[in-house]
């Protein structure tokens, strides 16, 4: 009988322990970060993007920064493809409002401008980030004084040069080409990657007035979404002409793979991803790429920012400054073929030569982040399977 009774106690105690362990983990993690504060310098970079951006930080910028600053360790947290941007932004809002450290010190994400506007970020000036002095005024403006531009990229039209002699030069030509060559074009669903998103946005933009388009890049204007209707109808009419009569792959990389295996011969791709894919050999050299016009595919500088309530704001700003230094810009150019954002004459000659044609200040900006979430939803409702 005694044994049985102790068994019962044991069971009850185990229940308590397990039930409490959930809370214990959460409590433990807060203690960890507080300890790290006192003893050694450590940073966490929050990355919202594709694997190439992750590699840029983890294999390029961070090791170089750690080498230049002994005793500093930098970790990363990744939200692949930025699928949870809206939630991340909302969580950041909650923790900044509560005055808590959000758990990361530097953010590389598409929602930086929204976060800056909402007053969630440290101000970034030439006092705190001296290298900002080398960045053109136009690029800085879109950052609103909070976002720190550190690289740029745009979406380009990639095509198979073995089958296509003269790629379409305007959007109208491209849409015609897609209809003339059924099954040869693919773009990824916009919620899973920016290259498909840029194609969708560019088709929608044909029917949006210039002034409204401007509003939709800087704020959330749901009442303007009716102007998208014609564009979505046009996209739906392409269903029969795209890859496998209406298949939209998941993610930028799947499209690159299709291009690499020759299953399709034309697709919108990120400039940095196609250059990297060709240098690693996953996409053959016979794939060429060019920008279209009227309107062009979207592209922009990428911004990083430091949360206001970060425990290591100073160090995070130092890391941002490092990314803007000529060493940092060279790493970006080499690791992911990112366009530099600083004036080209401040860079080493061979890096500058590579990007003579790319002017980040001339890129057509993409939609504001909440507008983007709605665009993804409406696309999903109105395009595939219609």
């Amino acid at each position: 009988m005694n044994e049985r009774r102790s068994l019962a106690y044991l069971a009850s105690a185990a229940t308590l322990a397990i039930a409490l362990s959930g809370c214990a983990t959460a409590a433990g993690s807060t203690t960890d970060s507080a300890e790290g504060d006192a003893s050694s310098k450590s940073l966490t970079v929050f990355i919202s993007g594709d694997t190439n951006v992750q590699d840029l930080w983890e294999k390029g910028l961070i090791p170089a920064f750690e080498e230049a600053n002994p005793g500093v360790t930098v970790d990363t947290t990744i939200d692949l493809h930025g699928e949870h941007n809206q939630q991340t932004l909302a969580k950041l809002t909650t923790s900044v409002k509560a005055g808590d450290d959000p758990g990361y010190d530097l953010i590389d994400a598409g929602f930086i401008s929204s976060a800056g506007k909402a007053g969630l970020l440290e101000e970034a000036t030439t006092d705190t980030v001296p290298n900002l002095a080398n960045v053109p005024e136009v690029t800085l403006e879109a950052g609103d004084g909070f976002g720190i531009p550190y690289r740029a990229s745009s979406v380009l039209l990639a095509y198979d040069t073995t089958t296509i002699d003269a790629p379409p030069e305007t959007l109208t030509d491209l849409l015609q080409w897609i209809k003339d060559n059924p099954g040869e074009f693919a773009y990824n669903s916009p919620s899973t990657g920016g290259s498909g998103g840029a194609f969708v946005a560019t088709v929608l933009d044909q029917y949006v007035s210039e002034s409204d388009r401007e509003k939709m890049t800087v704020g959330y204007e749901p009442e303007l979404e009716t102007e998208w209707d014609e564009g979505f109808a046009e996209l739906a009419s392409l269903n029969q002409s795209v890859f496998q009569q209406g298949v939209y792959p998941n993610g930028n990389n799947q499209v690159l793979e299709l291009l690499g295996t020759g299953e399709i011969s034309m697709a919108p791709v990120w400039s940095d991803q196609i250059i990297t894919a060709q240098s690693t050999g996953t996409v053959p050299d016979t794939i060429g790429y060019a920008q279209i016009s009227d309107p062009s595919f979207t592209g922009n500088a990428s911004y990083i920012g430091v949360p206001k309530t970060s425990d290591h704001a100073d160090l995070a700003l130092e890391l941002a400054d490092f990314a803007l230094s000529s060493a940092g810009q060279a790493i970006i150019a080499e690791a992911i073929s990112g366009y530099p954002v600083v004036a080209l004459d401040t860079l080493p000659a061979e890096v500058a030569a590579k990007f003579e044609d790319a002017d980040p200040s001339a890129l057509r900006p993409s939609y504001y982040s909440e507008m983007g979430a709605d665009m993804n939803n409406l696309w999903d409702q109105k395009v595939p399977g219609q």
Partner: protein, 317 residues
């Protein structure tokens, strides 16, 4: 709850002499059953209640954060909530289309799984031999291959440039492209569900004594009547369990349709994830989850009924 259990345990210890053996046994049983019950209540029960409340527009309390994050969140206008979100979701053609495709895929895949696993089980029972053992062994293999990898492999196998089409084109036949179609989702669902169903059906049919089959044979019963009138009825309980588990698993699956399926129509598991993260509409996602939950409960009822029947047969209830 657990502290109450401790107290009552101590009480039992003090008054040990006066408490009957029966009470002591049942309190011990209760204590032993407590850990899983508590865990489920804490980590499944409460979140489910919160989620159902959220879908009805209860945005206060623990739902406050998610409500402030989501786009288009609707708030309750009466004490029991509002059905506005349910109305919005059910009037969306996209949802109705995806709901019906989810049900169709579930029914077809479950029937296929049942037919395949039963075929193997009956072959093993009636015929035996090394070939039957090989079949039974092969049917369990998917258990050891991660679903993500299997889905990717299935997609590539049936893709435009996959094995099926490449092989058939050697003979001048233009094979079908099943990658990114609902057919691939059905193939993937069958692949992932087959092992469990085969194990259940196999053990159910194996458990029927030889003597009964032999007696039927002696009485002149053919294979068909042995299967239809002896094997299937006697193995019905494990078969129902296999069917319900398969159906519930397929109903809520995410990985297989996400990788191998088309963008539209898509299964609800993928939709819920899209609404929750990509479109940032958590309330709509929760409404869909409730719908899947209701469907699964309907199937689960069969499982409970089957269990109850077994218990009754064995005189436990």
């Amino acid at each position: 709850m657990s502290s109450t259990a401790l107290k009552s345990g101590a009480g039992t210890a003090k008054r040990g002499v006066t408490v009957s053996a029966e009470t002591r046994r049942s309190s011990l049983g209760f204590a032993l059953a407590l850990p899983p019950v508590l865990l489920i209540a804490l980590f499944v029960g409460i979140p489910v209640i919160l989620a159902v409340g959220f879908s009805l527009g209860m945005t206060g309390g623990l739902n406050e954060t998610i409500a402030s994050i989501g786009l288009g969140t609707v708030e309750a206008d009466s004490w029991w909530g509002t059905l506005a979100v349910y109305g919005a979701v059910f009037s969306d053609q996209r949802f109705l289309r995806d709901l019906s495709v989810t049900v169709v895929i579930t029914v077809i895949s479950t029937l296929l799984v049942l037919a395949l696993s039963l075929g193997i089980a009956l072959y093993l029972r009636l015929k035996g031999g090394w070939l039957a053992n090989v079949f039974a062994g092969l049917a369990v293999v998917p258990l050891f291959i991660p679903v993500v990898i299997a889905s990717w492999a299935i997609l590539n196998f049936y893709a435009n440039d996959g094995f099926v089409r490449t092989f058939l084109s050697q003979f001048g036949i233009d094979g079908p492209t099943w990658g990114y179609t609902t057919v691939a989702v059905v193939i993937g669902s069958v692949w992932t569900s087959l092992p469990f169903a085969t194990l259940m059906a196999g053990s159910g049919v194996q458990a029927i004594p030889d003597a009964i089959i032999d007696a039927a044979r002696d009485a002149g019963a053919g294979i068909t009547s042995i299967v239809m009138r002896i094997l299937l009825p006697m193995a019905s309980i494990p078969l129902i369990i296999a069917t319900t588990f398969t159906a519930i698993g397929i109903l809520g699956q995410f990985t297989v349709p996400y990788f191998t399926g088309p963008n539209a129509p898509q299964m609800l598991g993928v939709d819920i994830s899209k609404y929750f993260s990509s479109f940032n509409q958590p309330q709509q996602a929760v409404v869909m989850a409730v719908v899947v939950f209701v469907l699964a409960s309907g199937v689960a009822f069969c499982y409970v009924w089957a269990n109850f029947r077994t218990a009754k047969k064995e005189g436990r209830v």
